[in-house]
Every structure is written in C-alpha cells, then in structure tokens.
C-alpha cells in the first residue's frame, strides 16, 4: 500500500510536470534590416535543451513553467540572453544585432565564447564581413581572406598575397564555397586581393580540421562563405570610395515575400594609367603602361514561397582584364569566375529541414595575342554543374543529424593553344578536354552523450569517374568534446579527406594561368588524414577564451611539376608530373576577447611543413615554401566613443623557405652572344628569408548624416615601414667602365613600403 501510494504520487508528479509545460514561441530577426533569421539557435543551458528557428525565423519550444535563461544566437550576430518567467504560452520576438554594426554591438551582453567552448566542432573560425571591415586593409580594400590570415594555422604566401595556406596545405587544397558554389580562382590581381566584395558577404567560416561530413573534395580547409540577403523592410544601400576601387550595394524588398540585393565593385587603375599614357603619347622613348582593372558583381534574390519553403537565387560574375594594344601588337589577358546557384529550403517541420541546390560555376582565362596577321590564343577553363541536397534532422534534444548527397559534372579544357596566320594556311592547335563526375554522400550525428560529453561522428563516401577510371573513398570524420567543468573543455578530432581534382602550377605563386586537372590513371586522388587535439579555457567573466590545439596532417599523392617542365607547349601533361608526400604538424594558441570596448585576439602557431618527392631535390625531403616555424598575430579593436574606433594588427612570421642557387657555371651556347652565367640549384627551398613582421593601424570616424550613416576610414599599412623580403636573387656587380662582371651580390626585393589610405564608406 505504501508502495502503491508512492507510485500514485510519482505518477501524479510526472503528470503534473507534463501539465506544467507551456510553449514559448516567437520570431528571430535582424534588428536593423528586419531580415528573418532561419536556423537561429534558441538554447536553455540549464535544461540542455534547444531548438532552431524555421525558414521564417520562427521558433517554438515547450518548457516547464518557471524562470528560464534563454540564449538566442546566430552566426555573425551578437547573441542575446533573455530571462523569461513562463506561466502560460508566451510569444517572445527577438531582434539580434549584427556584430560590429555600431558602438553598442561590442557592448551587447552575449555569450558567444561559451557557445564556442561547448561545441564539439574544433578548428573552426568565423568572420563576419563587418568584423573584417574594422581591421586595417591595404589600399583600403577589405578582404575577408586577409582577415583569415590573421588567425592561427592560416598563413599567407607572401607580402600582400591573399592565398591561404592552412595547416601545411596548398592554396589549391582549400574548398572555397560561396552559397554552395565552388570557387576555383578566388583572386584578383595575381593573388593580391580576393574576389569577395565585403558588402555582399554576410559571414565566412573556415574549417582547418575536424571537417564536418557534408564537406569534401579538398584536403586542407573548407571556407564556407554566405552572401547577404536583401533588406526586407525598405530600400537601402551602401558603398565606398577608395584609392583603387569603388563599390556600391543596393537592396530592396521586391514585395512582401521577396527581396533583392545587388553589389558591384570596380578598380580604376586603368583610368589613371590611360591618362599617363595619353600625356606621353608623343614621347618616342615612352613605354605605355598596359590597362588593368578588375570588377565583380554579386546578386541575390530571396523569395518566401510560403510557411515552409524558401527559394533563393544568387550569382557572381567577376573578371580581371589586362590588355596592351598598339599598332602592331595586341595582347589581351582576361580571367574570371562566374557562378549561379539556386537553393530551395523546405521545412518539413521544426525537426526536419531540407536544402536542395543547383549550382553552375565556371572559371576561365584567355590570353589573346594579335601580331599583325597572326593570332595566338591560350586558354583554360573549368565548368561545373552541381546538384546537392542536404537534410538537417533534430529527432530530439540530444541528436542533430545531417545527411545528404551531391553530384558534380566537371568539364575541363586544359591548356588550349591555338595559333595561325590570317589565311589559315599554317596553324597549330593543342590542349585537351576532359570530363569527370564527382559525387558524395554523407551522414553525421552531433550527439550529446551527457552534459559534459558531445560526440560528432560522420562518414562520407565520395567518388570520381573520368572515362574508364573510377575512384572512390571512405572518409570518416570524428570529433568530440569533453567538458571538465563549465570553463574548461577538451576536444579532439580526426578527418580523412579526398581530393579528386588538382591545380597544376609551374610557378611558385598562384597565377590565373594555373590549370585544374582531373584524376586519371596516372594522377591518382590526393588523400589527407588529420588528427587534432586541444583544450579550451573560458575565463571566469566569460570574456576571454583561450584555446590550444595541436595537429598532425599526412598528405599522400601530392603533385608537383618535374623540374624544368612547362605548363604549356606540351600535349601530355601527365608526363610532366611527379608525385610525393607531404606532412605537417604544429601547435596553435589562440586567445580571443569578444566583449567590451576592447576586443581582439592573439594567435601563435609553431609548425613544420614538409614535402617528400623522389624526383625533386634528389629525393631528399624539403620544406614547403610557406613552411613557417613561428607565426604570431596580434589584433586589437577599440571603441573610443560613438564616433571613433581604432584598430591595429601586428604580425610576425619566420621567413619563407626559398630556393637560391649555390653554384654557377659558364655556358657559351651556339648562338654566339658570349658566355652566360647559369645558376646551379642543389637544395629546394634550402634558404630562409629574413623574418616578416608588420604593423597596420586604422582609425574609423563615424558620421551620422540625416540620410543614414557614413565613415571615413584612415588606414596605414606597414606603419614602421619595414622592407619585408618578397624575393631574393643574386645579381652581377659590374665595373663602371666596360661593364665587366667583377663579383656577385645578394639582393632583397620588397614590395610594399608604408601605405596610408583613406576610404569613405556610406550606408543609407
């Protein structure tokens, strides 16, 4: 009887607890544009319970009656914590502020670092375009890639270059996605600027390891860039006028269900160089400066199809144009990317979301050379048509399951060379066309085993078909988090990646003429395995997060060019490749502060990056050019008052490993022009440049006119005018009379001295 009474009591208490639950619901929106934020996290830490907002930014969660501290968060936005006393079904609409928008944004009470601490995902860093805009930028050109270079584990190739070398991987081993579209050459101006107009970008995530299973196809990193949607409330615009380019973004609601945003940017070097050329037209000794400019266009149209469906169409078109024309000789060199993607999101219910995308992307370059009757063309192209579907399924509070499929039809035109005279009597035509299909299927589960332990297990099956060659690979992805307490978490991950297409470059830099090449019988897919382990510590006031991560990465079937081999004038590229291994290891320390008037981070990386090829460097392993033993970055942003904000960065890196000749010999050859000195190279990348260090500063002065807001941004690149090494060579020293060589001297060439820049930005 006593037991029976207890049972009744227990049952009643359960019934009572069910009966005492009420629903909390509402909409999560952008505080300024009114854009609804689908996929925003609503989380109650004390209950370890949460949900996500739907396509319309709506959320709904059932909670016990009582007081709850509810965290609303969304990537690129300051999280917001609300205390709710739930007595009955309640509606709570929340407006999140985009990070870095105003003075208040850095003061807003939020807990993004705690969220990061609690996540099972490691080796990831997120940057919003607005954060990037706060930092000093060379020539005033805000570049999200250059901001990534300030993070530990990410290195630049050299002075001013936008290329990303992530944990020992090459620039071709980064999967760069813009709204699911793969970008093959994300650079303008031979790598000095990335193609991403900061006004069109919402945020970007960079994964260095522990890759989620939905990503595949590259070895070393994933850079997932999302573009902005247009203002759903009113017509608005933004832009900027800088020293080398201007940009303009316009956005508007089209009707109550849809919005449109269009961004454009163009440089104007060519305007000035044409002026200079015109002024010197009559000078017979004057060599005209070639025209150069780049431009890009972004657009996105988003349409709410109803309560459960949303459609978006976004596109990018950008080109670099370099041309030289005179009476006899015409040289045109164009390269660029174009992408268009359409995505349909369908919310089956709050637990199941599907995203279906169709993506077309193209990168091509063409060099056209007219010489009187002759025309000579070189070009390469890669075209992709991709279809993919991703599902997010939240069966309960403990599991977050993702699964999906993707397929890409690649078409490569490799090194197409055509030439001939006007009569077509003599001509040559070389190059190859290839086709291939790449596919992937994945499933992963982010599983909360307990409050302290979260595991993420995933498996990706990928494959590639090129004519009769068929490759496939299983790519396990595992990561986990173990919280020692509320402030300390241990994390570890393992990821295997396959790369089926390869960038072939005969240069030590990233050039637009580099060629994408598919796997075939001889050129097998590249494979990497990476393990990483780390510890994160959140300060007691939750304002500072300290993370330490160590990693080791093995890279198999790496591809390089045979020494002395050329990219062009060969009909069989396969004969020019050599294959080897790479491996890298290191430790990254990252200290970040996200709240308060002063924010920023300190990063330090200690790393080694090796290459090991039987046919290079006489079979001895050698350092990659971008191997950097020590890499330090210090970033500080400070809000002085409502109008002034300051920011500064300081970077230090061990010098690049470069190749210098150790010996020389004399060659006279057959053409009778006298002896030439030929360098003898014995050790690949056997010499270290001097260390690289640089400080940049920026002051932003905000103006609040009646029509909106604007700012003047004054940046100084390389404040203490250090001549950092860009290139070393050995030069002949000649006697004043007779020009006889008397000795040899090492020379260092630097690229950028101190560069002050003023940029005007506006928003209405």
């Amino acid at each position: 009887m006593q037991y029976f009474s207890l049972f009744i009591l227990f049952s009643l208490s359960i019934f009572s607890s069910f009966a005492q639950k009420q629903e909390l619901s509402g909409v999560v929106k952008d505080s300024e544009t009114g854009e609804k934020l689908p996929g925003a996290t609503v989380f109650i830490d004390s209950l370890s319970k949460g949900t996500l907002s739907d396509i319309k930014g709506r959320y709904s969660i059932t909670l016990p009656i009582g007081s709850h501290k509810i965290l609303f968060s969304y990537i690129g936005y300051s999280a917001d914590t609300q205390i709710v006393r739930l007595k009955k079904n309640t509606i709570l609409n929340v407006q999140l502020k985009s990070e870095s928008r105003t003075l208040e944004e850095v003061l807003v009470q939020s807990e993004p670092l705690k969220e990061k601490l609690q996540s099972s995902q490691m080796s990831v860093t997120t940057i919003t375009a607005k954060e990037a805009k706060l930092l000093p930028a060379i020539f005033g050109e805000v570049d999200i890639f250059k901001t990534f270079q300030l993070k530990p584990g990410v290195k630049s190739g050299g002075e001013g270059a936008s290329g990303l070398y992530v944990r020992g991987g090459g620039v071709d081993q980064n999967l760069i996605l813009v709204d699911n579209a793969v970008v093959y050459n994300p650079y303008h101006l031979f790598g000095f600027f990335s193609i991403f107009n900061s006004d069109a970008i919402k945020d970007a995530e960079l994964y260095k390891g522990g890759f989620p299973a939905q990503f595949g196809g590259r070895l070393s990193s994933v850079i997932d860039i999302k573009t902005r949607e247009g203002n759903t409330e009113q017509f608005s615009g933004s832009g900027g006028i800088g020293i080398i380019s201007s940009r303009l973004t316009l956005e508007t609601p089209v009707n109550q269900h849809s919005s449109l945003i269009v961004s454009a940017r163009r440089t104007y070097f060519d305007v000035f160089t044409r002026l200079v050329n015109r002024q010197n037209k009559n000078d017979p000794d004057y060599d005209p400066i070639p025209d150069y400019y780049f431009y890009d266009l972004n657009g996105k149209y988003a349409y709410d199809l109803g309560d459960r469906d949303k459609l978006s169409i976004s596109g990018y078109y950008g080109n670099d144009v370099f041309k030289f024309n005179d009476d006899d000789f015409n040289f045109n060199f164009n390269w660029g990317n174009s992408m268009i993607q359409t995505q349909w999101q369908h919310f089956f219910n709050t637990d199941l979301v599907a995203k279906t995308s169709l993506v077309y992307t193209k990168y091509d370059y063409q060099i056209r050379n007219f010489f009187d009757d002759f025309e000579f063309k070189i070009g390469s192209q890669v075209n992709d048509l991709t279809g993919l579907i991703d599902f997010n399924y939240y069966p309960d509070d403990r599991n977050s399951i993702k699964f999906g499929l993707s397929a890409t039809r690649h078409k490569f035109i490799v090194g197409r060379i055509k030439g001939g005279d006007s009569e077509g009597e003599t001509s040559f035509d070389a190059g190859n066309d290839y086709k291939g299909t790449e596919w992937g299927a994945y499933i992963s589960d982010d599983f909360k085993l307990s409050k302290a332990i979260t595991l993420n297990g995933g498996l990706r099956l990928s494959g590639f078909i090129n004519q009769t060659n068929y490759f496939y690979g299983l790519e396990p992805r595992i990561s986990g988090k173990f919280s020692l307490n509320e402030m300390v978490a241990l994390k570890a991950s393992y990821a295997r990646m396959f790369q089926y297409i390869h960038l072939v470059s005969s240069s030590s830099a990233t050039l637009p003429t580099d060629i994408w090449y598919p796997s075939n019988e001889l050129v097998k897919p590249q494979i990497s395995d990476q393990i990483a382990a780390g510890v994160s510590f959140l300060s007691r006031n939750k304002k500072i997060l300290i993370t330490n991560e160590a990693y080791y990465k093995w890279m198999n079937r790496q591809i390089d060019f045979k020494e002395g081999a050329g990219l062009f004038l060969t009909s069989n590229l396969d004969d020019n490749f050599v294959f080897g291994k790479g491996y890298s290891y290191g430790n990254e320390v990252y200290i970040e502060k996200k709240q308060g008037k002063t924010t920023g981070w300190i990063g330090y990386t200690l790393s080694w990056t090796w290459r090991d090829f039987e046919d290079i460097n006489n079979g001895k392993r050698f350092f990659a050019r971008y191997d950097r033993r020590h890499d330090v970055s210090l970033v500080v942003m400070h809000q002085l008052n409502k109008r002034f904000s300051l920011s500064g960065t300081w970077v230090y890196g061990t010098g690049n490993a470069v190749t210098l000749p150790s010996g020389r010999f004399v060659l006279q050859e057959v053409e009778n022009i006298g002896p030439k000195v030929i360098p003898i190279v014995e050790n690949r990348n056997g010499y270290r440049m001097k260390p690289y260090h640089r400080m940049d500063l920026s002051v932003v002065y905000k103006i609040y006119p009646r029509w909106g807001e604007s700012d003047l941004t004054f940046s100084v690149y390389n404040v203490y005018n250090r001549y950092n090494p860009y290139f070393l060579y050995i030069d002949e020293e000649k006697a004043d009379e007779g020009g006889v060589v008397t000795s040899y001297q090492g020379k260092q060439v630097s690229l950028f001295p101190i560069i002050p820049t003023l940029t005007y930005n506006f928003k209405f």
């Binding site: 002395g564 009909s571 150790s662 060589v741």
Partner: protein
C-alpha cells in the same frame, strides 16, 4: 569632382611611395658548392671536334678562370677513338673552345658517338649522342608594318612520322647580334608545314640571318632547363629548376649540330 581631385593626389602620393627603392644589398650565406666539371661539345659533320671544358664554382666566390686544362678527353665513334688535345681557340665572335681534335666528324647518322673526360682531380664525365640530319628552310619572306619595320616568316617541312625538336636563332646584320632564340617541338603542328615568324625588328636595308637547328630531345631539355634556371634567379614567380644535362658525372651537353641557314636582305 573635388573628391576625384583628392583621389588623384592620393594616387600620385601612392606612386611616389612606389618610387621608393625597395631593393637592397644583403648578405646571403649560401651552402658550399662542390665544384663540378662542365662540358660543351657540339659535333658538326665535316668539322673537327671542338670542346669547352670548364668547372663550376660557388655562386658568391670571387671570379677566377673556369677553364679546366688538364683533362684526358676522347670522342669514340665507329671504333675510332679520337683523343682531343689542349688548344684554346677563339672563333669569330665570342666562342672559345679549349680542346680540339685533328679528326673530322663523319656524317654518320646511324651510329652513336661517345664522350669520355677525366681530369687531374679524378673527376669524370661520360656522354653519348647521335647525329641528326638538318631540316631545310623552305621559304623565308618578310613583310613591313606601318612603321616600316619588317618581320620574317620562315617555313619548313616537318617529318610527321617522328617527334622532332627544333631551335631557331635569328641574328640581325651580324652573327653576333641575336634578336630571337627559342626551342620548340612539332607536337602541336597539325600539318607537315611549320611556319615561324620573327618580331618586327628589321629596318629596310638590314639583313636577317635565320638558323634552324634540328636538335635531339636531350638538347631541347638542356636548353629549357638552363633558361628556367636563369629565370628562377630573376623571376619571383618562377619555379626553381635544376640543370638537365645529357652527360653523366658533371654538367653539360654533348650533342650534334644539324642546321640550315638562310640570309634575307630586307629591301
């Protein structure tokens, strides 16, 4: 409009900054280089064997004579061992050879020629090559542009049954004034007729000298590798390149010379 004025000033300031001398002398501590023998020997049917033997040195060493004058050198063909002797000779222009033989190179396109060198330090070089037939230049015509400068278009018949490698050297007015030189293959040619043009460089009254060398693959690779090695020391974007010699034990080239020559007067 006023803004553009300021922008122009800013741009000029930028140009001034770029005018800074961003190049400076530095001390480079290069690894020690072990000196190697370097040979150049071009066999030309109907002429005596001539050979230049030098040695390499560390790049930043002070300048000294590179000649190696104490070597035993033989060229062997058709069971004939031709021993070269030291005799430094300057040819017309800038050419110099320090070893020569008394024997004439036979026009033997079937058999191999072998090279053997051993110097007083015990360093040896070995090599092997075969002579090729010259490919005749069929036509060489010139055409003027509006600035009264002419280019020359040269054509020849290529043997499409095999892979061929060529080298074109264009001189202007004298055989020491080279205006163009490059190597190429026939792999892109869609027809047997190959045409190659010079730049617009010839004024009226000048003379163009075209030499078309029919070369073997190893010589083609050697020329490309030395060009790439020179480029690698002066071009920040170039890949480092090792020298692809066709001799063993040292550096250099041992090959035959087969060429056709055409002089074109621009009138």
């Amino acid at each position: 409009m006023a803004y553009f004025k300021y922008l122009l000033i800013a741009f000029c300031l930028g140009l001034l900054l770029f005018g800074c001398d961003l190049e400076k002398d530095i001390t480079i501590d290069l690894p020690k280089h072990q000196s190697q023998l370097v040979v150049e020997c071009y066999l030309e049917p109907g002429r005596k064997v001539q050979l230049l033997l030098t040695e390499s040195s560390s790049y930043l060493d002070s300048l000294s004579s590179p000649f190696v004058n104490d070597a035993l050198i033989t060229v062997t063909y058709n069971n004939i061992v031709d021993t070269l002797f030291l005799n430094t000779q300057f040819e017309e222009g800038y050419k110099v050879y320090n070893y020569i033989s008394n024997k004439i190179v036979p026009a033997d396109f079937e058999r191999d020629f072998f090279l053997y060198i051993k110097d007083s330090k015990g360093r040896t070089i070995t090599g092997k090559t075969k002579l090729l037939q010259a490919v005749p230049i069929d036509t060489a015509e010139y055409k003027f542009n509006e600035d009264s400068l002419a280019y020359v278009l040269m054509s020849f018949e290529d043997d499409t049954t095999r892979e061929n490698y060529y080298r074109l050297v264009v001189h202007k007015d004298s055989l020491t004034n080279v205006v163009q030189r490059f190597v190429f293959t026939d792999e892109f040619s869609e027809t047997s007729k190959i045409s190659v043009g010079t730049p617009y460089t010839f004024e009226k009254g000048k003379e163009a000298f075209l030499t078309l060398y029919h070369i073997d693959e190893s010589y083609y690779k050697y020329v490309r590798s030395v060009d790439a090695a020179r480029d690698g020391n002066s071009n920040p974007f170039a890949q480092p390149a090792m020298i692809m010699s066709n001799v063993g034990g040292g550096i250099g080239i041992f090959t035959g010379l087969a060429f056709d020559f055409r002089a074109v007067r621009i009138e």
